[in-house]
Amino acid sequence: MTLKQTPLNAAHRAMGAKMVDFGGWDMPVNYGSQIEEHHQVRNDCGMFDVSHMRVVDIKGEGVRSFLRYLLANNVEKLTQPGKALYSCILLDNGGVIDDLIVYFVSEEWFRIVVNAGTADKDIAWMKLQAAKHAPQLSIVDHPELAMIAVQGPNARVKVWDALPGSKELTESLVPFKAVEMGAMFIARTGYTGEDGFEVMIPAKAAPFFWATLVEKGVKPIGLGARDTLRLEAGMNLYGQDMDETVNPLESGLAWTVDLKSERDFIGKAALLAKSPARKLVGLVLLDRGVLRGHQQVHTAQGIGEITSGSFSPTLEKSIALARVPKEVQIGDTVQVAIRDKMLAAKVVKYPFARNGKSLI
């Protein structure tokens, strides 16, 4: 199978990226040392090609009321144009189809950004639901839009420097808010636990913007560091920390599910019918080694499983997210099965690190 390429493929190769097959996309995993790239984002700033993610626009009369039913989080929280909301999209049984960010542009236009590997499935589901509940809406995805995330304490200044006119438009933009700039869409969002922007930009213009950022001294960061950054920041990764077989309440995402209001939404009945038996917690390894996905976690209350694990460059320890019996408490010591050994790990509240600092 031929791998799909983003508009920045040639730029990555020219910068010495190590390319890997990432869910069918030919993507840079690192350009040199992954750990240095990680620190670069926590301490200064770096940029990521996330053009494999898909932008989906839902337009028409009644889009808000459709999304109120489609999404587990409540779009009524979006009162100001440009405001963004993180949400899961659920099956009737409460299983997670995907997680996404939805931007309120206007009452007739909401923009959604979904994961690359799930995009086609998500769009098919949205269209199926729209056919039943809001056939007047148009649902159009935009594979021709590239996306570049610039993240880190100095990220915004670098973007302002690279993109004339952007400072005036985005200086007063609060976190989780976005603004249109011509054919671009600039959002103060990200997946690293640092400040910064995610810039959606037409594919044709993306290589020039990338090259300008390089000129301004912004370092490219691969998907390897993106994963350790998001794990330290305690952000879920779809396909690892949750999928269609688990619900958001067992995935550390209860804060994104609105069960209190009268509003009905897909999956709500299933979530209300059964209280969760498991929960997501953070682990810090006390012994030497590295926690990895799918390792078994032995607790006094039963067996759990690591969903994401790696080495944390900020903590210089191994950390993980794990799904464990709900009775497990913060501060407990648990045993993780790694090869032929049982290693001790401490249950902690996550995030592990944000804004350049360890929180553990």
Partner: protein, 129 residues
């Protein structure tokens, strides 16, 4: 970085150096460290452990992944490089100096029969193309 001519190699990407005392040092190749990326943890075998050729005997973990290290020949472990406990990244910076363990081969001819630098490079080329 090319693979030194004075070393032997395995198809599982270990390098083997014959020492003057009749032992061999074992590490992982430039190609292997490049594939794995930043090293963060090394688990070495117990000194005295008897190993069979191709037996899993050590583990290296990078940020990205864990990889098994295999015994190149039959023999017993005589030493481990404890420096790697605190500085696993030396495998990245100087893979042919960062030996992981030493062993006394049961049969020195087994070492001679391993891949030479040229044969190993041909193997790497065939895997990467």
């Amino acid at each position: 970085m090319s693979n030194p001519d004075n070393l032997k190699y395995t198809a599982s990407h270990e390098w083997v150096k014959s020492e003057s005392d009749g032992t061999i040092s074992v590490g992982i190749t430039q190609h292997a460290q490049e594939l794995l990326g930043d090293m963060v943890f090394v688990e070495t075998p117990a000194v005295g452990r008897k190993l069979n050729a191709k037996e899993e005997c050590a583990v290296v973990e990078s940020v990205k992944a864990a990889a098994d290290i295999y015994a190149p020949v039959n023999g017993a472990v005589t030493a481990v490089n404890s420096v790697l406990d605190s500085s696993p990244e030396s495998i990245n910076s100087d893979p042919y100096a960062a030996w992981m363990f030493k062993m006394k081969p049961d049969n020195p001819a087994d070492v001679a029969a391993l891949l030479d630098a040229k044969a190993y490079q041909a193997l790497v080329d065939s895997e990467t193309h």
